[in-house]
Subunit: 199 residues, 2 copies
DNA sequence: ACCTGAACACCGTTCAAGT
DNA sequence: ACCTGAACACCGTTCAAGT
């Protein structure tokens, strides 16, 4: 006796939730459309009513991941200004990645095409905008040189993204949250110092 | 009539080469053990004589990727010292990633376990050592503060790795090699400046 | 040692059909 | 509209068997 199937169009979200749970347990490569359908108590072809194909569901998972990331960053940086704000965003970025490694791999591992998956793409851009606005704050506070805001934000993003990826792959010895915070802060302070040197 | 099958134990390398070619064409998720066997003109169970399973072959692919990366970095940095050396390593790292995106994804996307795949792990560590030795060179030239060599190298690695990953995902607007080199140099100069600020 | 073919339990996707 | 079951062409892996 299966539990009652989903109705009223909430199947779409149920499938996304099931997918996120499955990915968390089995990793991105253990993710299977048929198993997702099983978890939603629905036939294995039902997902095709809501997603073009497997990749389309993965894009929806990525979109939710970007939304969650934006929320986590906004929360961490609330009220903070200038460099403090930038650092908190960085710590939140890496913390989110380490806490949801499989989800993060989906977000950045699926070669997101803006044409094919515009919603996921936009959600990703919105997460990046948090960094852009923090850089702007730093520039207004004269702790970063004016101009080239986008370029500065991209450098900061690269640093923080690299830390996140290497941490997920266990290639950095960051075992505790203290170590993680310390490393991110050291790295971002260094970068900020160098950027303010040569305007 | 298939071409003559491989003999004399060169099948292992033939499978690795076929795998790299297949990954280049179809991406990491299009990679299939059976298709690799087909390309090597061998039955689909023959690979199991040389690799425990699909992941074991992927680890061998990753190992070769790390070896290639080390060679490319060594070549790019030949004769250069201090900051110039560090920058050239970074440019070579990102260039390699952008030129072999699928291979790079395998190297860093497969959650390499040092116990299960020691050879691939060692090859990865050797690539990282190039950064460590360049940081040491910088310290001896007094362009970076002494001590904490490993930590400084890890920060540099994170930056360069983040640029590589974002560039592969087309999330940075680096269309030409000039733009790529310029961005890596800007980023690494900034980081170096900041690191030398606060010893 | 090295390779094969059959077999098993899975996939993603399509399609005609049901409510 | 939304969901289903059968069908197709694939997988990864195991196993008995052949040279």
């Amino acid at each position: 006796m299966p539990a009652k199937p989903y109705h009223h169009g909430n199947l779409r979200q149920a499938l996304i939730d099931a997918a996120i749970g499955l990915i968390q347990e089995s990793g991105p490569e253990g993710f299977t459309l048929r198993e997702v359908a099983r978890r939603a108590h629905v036939s294995h072809t039902a997902p095709y009513r809501h997603f073009r194909d497997k990749n389309d569901l993965l894009a929806a998972v990525a979109e939710q991941g970007f939304t969650d990331l934006s929320r986590a960053m906004a929360e961490a940086a609330r009220g903070a200004k200038a460099l403090d704000r930038l650092q908190r965003l960085g710590v939140a970025y890496v913390t989110s990645a380490v806490e949801h490694p499989a989800h993060f791999r989906v977000m950045f591992g699926m070669q997101l095409d803006p044409k094919a998956h515009p919603a996921a793409w936009v959600a990703g851009q919105e997460a990046f905008q948090a960094l852009v606005s923090a850089v702007t704050t730093c520039q207004e506070a004269n702790v970063l040189p004016k101009g080239h805001t986008l370029t500065l934000a991209r450098v900061a993003w690269s640093l923080v993204h690299g830390i996140a990826q290497l941490a997920i792959g266990r290639l950095l010895p960051l075992r505790t949250r203290r170590e993680l915070t310390g490393f991110v802060n050291l790295a971002s302070r260094s970068l900020a110092g160098g950027l303010s040197d040569k305007p």
